[in-house]
Assembly symmetry: C2
Homo-oligomer: 367 residues x 2
């Protein structure tokens, strides 16, 4: 993928190889639609560099998702929707049937980008339904409108999630979060981090323990960065330290995001979530999951059928291109795990705070 020319947004920066490198801390937008282009913030380079790229070819959007330059279940769903709209805009035909064949090819490319987050597939379903109109021109416009609608609805959902969830956070709480479920991951206000931010805005004194989240360090790189921008005190820990702090009763609750939630409340989320949930319950610490309705997959009775993405072993065996283990050693790299619903104290969606039995409480129609 070639990251295209990107004009500066705000802040100090410099142009290198056609890409703006922004050095100053600033409010970052994960994804932004600019007529005919999709601007994405390259999350793989944060926090050292804020590199924005304006993508004009849908295949670059597919790659941005695959390579996790854009990541986080809601952000992936929004980005895929815009990516489909972008690809559709470039189809040069006035024949509806030809247009639909090409559109399906574009959607197929997105459907193969990442398997676990259901938001992607939900977005593609919506975009497919939206491909309607008197002619190809109207269809293209309808797709852009639908992508924007998905983005707006998801942004609104994160606001409502944050307001609902903030009630669970008491003044003085130390909250543990894993991976990153903030504005970058949601292209909105955030889910897990949104709740923390909303509680902070209610003048509650909140402290956060953020797990670094190996292998790709979303906690160390992104969560720490987002919390620092909000002046919320954060302490970084390695993933293996969380249990120790739970045992020491230093953590009042855990809040994480989700990539797919089954009808029974089983939660697929970043690898390590299951472990945190088990150790939370062992220490009587509430374990909350925050996610929009678009993350709920009612077609799955349980989490056992969620496809778990296996990523490259290089992410584990190397660090920034430097190998950390002897040559010839292989690694496993499942990117997600499944937390059975019995460990989940509540699931916070835009519909409110849902509790067991989730088969009933999650029945709210998905967006």
């Amino acid at each position: 993928m070639i990251f295209g020319l990107c004009p500066a947004v705000t802040g100090q920066g410099f142009l290198i190889c056609g890409v703006w490198i922004i050095l100053e801390a600033m409010t970052a937008r994960a994804v932004e639609w600019l007529e005919g282009k999709l601007r994405v913030l390259d999350q793989s380079k944060l926090p050292r560099e804020q590199v924005y790229a304006d993508l004009g070819d849908y295949r670059d959007v597919v790659l941005a998702i695959k390579d996790m330059r854009v990541r986080g279940a809601p952000a992936i769903g929004i980005t895929a929707a815009y990516g489909v709209a972008l690809g559709a805009s470039a189809i040069e035909t006035s024949d509806r049937d030809v247009f639909m064949v090409r559109l399906r090819e574009i959607m197929h490319s997105f459907s193969e980008s990442r398997p676990t987050a259901v938001n992607l597939f939900r977005s593609l379903e919506r975009m497919k339904r939206a491909a309607d109109g008197a002619d190809v021109g109207e269809m293209k416009k309808a797709l852009i409108d639908e992508a924007a609608a998905i983005h707006e609805e998801e942004m609104a959902a994160t606001r409502r999630i944050s307001e609902s969830g903030a009630g669970l956070i008491q003044d003085g709480f130390c909250v543990l979060t894993h991976c990153n479920a903030g504005p970058l991951a949601t292209a909105g206000y955030g889910t897990a981090l949104g709740i923390i931010k909303a509680a902070h805005e209610q003048d509650k004194h909140i402290r956060v323990l953020a797990t670094e989240t190996r292998p790709l360090l979303q906690g160390a790189r992104l969560t720490a960065w987002e919390l620092k921008q909000c002046d919320i005190p954060v302490t970084l820990i390695t993933d293996s330290m969380a249990g120790h702090f739970m045992q020491q009763q230093k953590i009042d609750c855990v809040i994480v995001g989700a990539d797919r939630i089954a009808a029974n409340g089983d939660v697929a989320n970043k690898i390590g979530t299951y472990t945190l949930a088990v150790v939370s319950r062992e220490n009587n610490i509430p374990f909350y999951v925050a996610a929009p309705n678009s993350t709920i997959d009612v077609s799955l009775n349980s989490g056992s059928r969620v496809p778990i993405e296996e990523r490259s072993p290089d992410e584990v065996t190397s660090f920034r291109g430097v190998r950390i283990t002897p040559e010839g050693i292989t690694a496993a790299n499942p990117a997600f795990d499944v937390t059975p619903h019995r460990y989940v104290t509540a699931i916070i969606t835009e519909s409110g705070v849902m509790r067991e039995p989730y088969t009933e409480s999650l029945k709210t129609p998905a967006a």
Copy 2:
């Protein structure tokens, strides 16, 4: 600390700044007494480089322990004993009282190097008792002999631990281990890895899942390296993946080492051990701890009083000098945690396989 001139041992290498860099895989000795010098393998540089240093000043030995160039509870105990002998040898006096004052200062330096592994303090007690003889010359010799005796006893202990523990490992087992408890950590055959090696030598087909063990990556760097040298199949995982593989019933048992075991069987070991033990029990997976009697601290009724070392936050916020989190973010870095005995299926010492109630079974006189 200045790592001194070190002659090549075996294998291809080159001399740089007075230190031999050995490039070829070879059997490595963590610690070796050479008349008047202590040769230590710098474990912080493995597996990329095998750098040996011949230390002639006890203060360099203290630093080698503090900086974790030598690490692992048994290896620390052995190294401290040799370090005391080294320091004592250099005391220039024939006055017994003056000698004893200086010796106590040396011992005090070692006692402040690292707080958690009790083997260090047990070694110092033994060295203190061994400082006896008709004159200073005899006392110096007695100290060298005692250090060598500690080393020999610990080597023999790891052999017996490995033989006892191998009986717990069945053909076809997938064993999970955390951090590093092999020859490097023990200056012997290994404890947790010793058991795995002994089972492998009994022609059992064993596979190992090794956690990388953030922040200092002893699993990725040392355990993977040691197992590869023994041709034992090993797959590296991040610390947060262990629970997922337990949940998937891919792990038949867990074996770890220990830094201090209380009289009731509570186990202080590398941070993350407690979490592994909790998730093991949740999934009915046996959780074994392998350690010599010198790791048992009968003076502590429970693990709650084990001093937990807090190391530099830089180990968490940086990787090889490159910062991974934004400037201004702090990190916690407890190096150990305590696993309550109720999660421990058995403790394997040179006296055999000990089970609950540990207050009884661990009563075997410590070395």
